[in-house]
Symmetry: C2
Amino acid sequence: MRRTNQVMTTQPPSSDELNTKALTVLRAARNVFLTHGFSATTDMIQREAGVSKSTVYAHYANKEALFVAVIEAECAAFTNTVRGIGFRPGKLRETLTMLARAYLDIVLSPGGLAVFRVVIAEGPRFPKLARTFYLAGPQVMTTMVSEQLARAAASGEVDLGEIGRDTAASLFINLVRGEPQLQCLTHPDAAPSSAQIDQWANAAVVTFMRAYGCGEEAPSRRSRS
Amino acid sequence: MRRTNQVMTTQPPSSDELNTKALTVLRAARNVFLTHGFSATTDMIQREAGVSKSTVYAHYANKEALFVAVIEAECAAFTNTVRGIGFRPGKLRETLTMLARAYLDIVLSPGGLAVFRVVIAEGPRFPKLARTFYLAGPQVMTTMVSEQLARAAASGEVDLGEIGRDTAASLFINLVRGEPQLQCLTHPDAAPSSAQIDQWANAAVVTFMRAYGCGEEAPSRRSRS
DNA sequence: GTCTATATGAAGATAGAC
DNA sequence: GTCTATCTTCATATAGAC
């Protein structure tokens, strides 16, 4: 029931225009590329999408272009997920724990691990995508932590010494992500328990607070000898 | 100038027997797989080695077997390199700095990055290789750090609190490897300067010592307010 | 835009001579 | 063991009908 061609073209592509087929192809390509890497075949994508080869090539010039579209969409989604982490800023220790846990949930998710795998693997062939990933994921997270450190520094909860806020935030992210991510990447069969993830997050926060925390915390710290 | 067939077969394969061709193939496969990943072709390997296809398949059943041989050799070499890090145990801060710097040199080397890339990428298809890599690289390094922490704990240079030695060692490795490795993986064109690597190593050591060090260091630390 | 059918090339692996 | 030549399969991409 179209009014006029004029109206049609000014309407947003609500559910048919670009949506139906192009999005179907993109979503199928996402699943296939994230499962098998760039060496996945266009055949698999075509079958997963339930369309013909021509439909795939009608929307994307070639395999590379489709791959780039998939990864860029994943990076954008990654940024949104990180930005959308819900946390109520409070005492630094609690804030960092919330952030660490939320970040690990993203990084260790099947999608998070798959994107990391394929982006790192294809870094030499798609250097632009690799940089996009870095900015969309770790960089955004580091910035969020850095902002919380600024708050905490103002309220005297933290003493960063000669080290910069951004460097400190980066070091915190290293503490959080390092071992958990490496373990999940090298043990693809054994997914960590929720309790294990909490333990990892806690160890990172405890270490960071021991290094740079100096607020009105529990006075038990460093009360030895 | 062969003496007899009998002698030939009882002699060790000093420089011709298995050495020349089989090793040539393995070395060529190493370069090709580490550059292009598992999707590298046997054609490239054959050309790089300067032999024919038949020679490749005379020594390795198929592409997978050759790939496994390459990665296992790399892992073994990795272990030897890590174990061979020369350091004179002294004050903990200096020891950790030496270890951090040496580990970064390995991890950030072209070979180190390439092995990481391909092992992580093929983890789902070769889970055994992924676990081997974890044990041969990060695990060995963590153990070395853990041993130094034991020494330091005995001499009162360190107070790990409730945290385990191995956990502390793992956290230190996280601090060292995290950002540098991620940055090199996602910026394949820009190799970091030696000064940059030193800075990274120092930041990790400073942070770890602030968290867990408690020896007769410079007394300036935490002298605030 | 979408389909079926196909052109074109490349990759893994083998046959058979030497 | 090593080579040349080749078999077979499969992957990317396109042609042409609707």
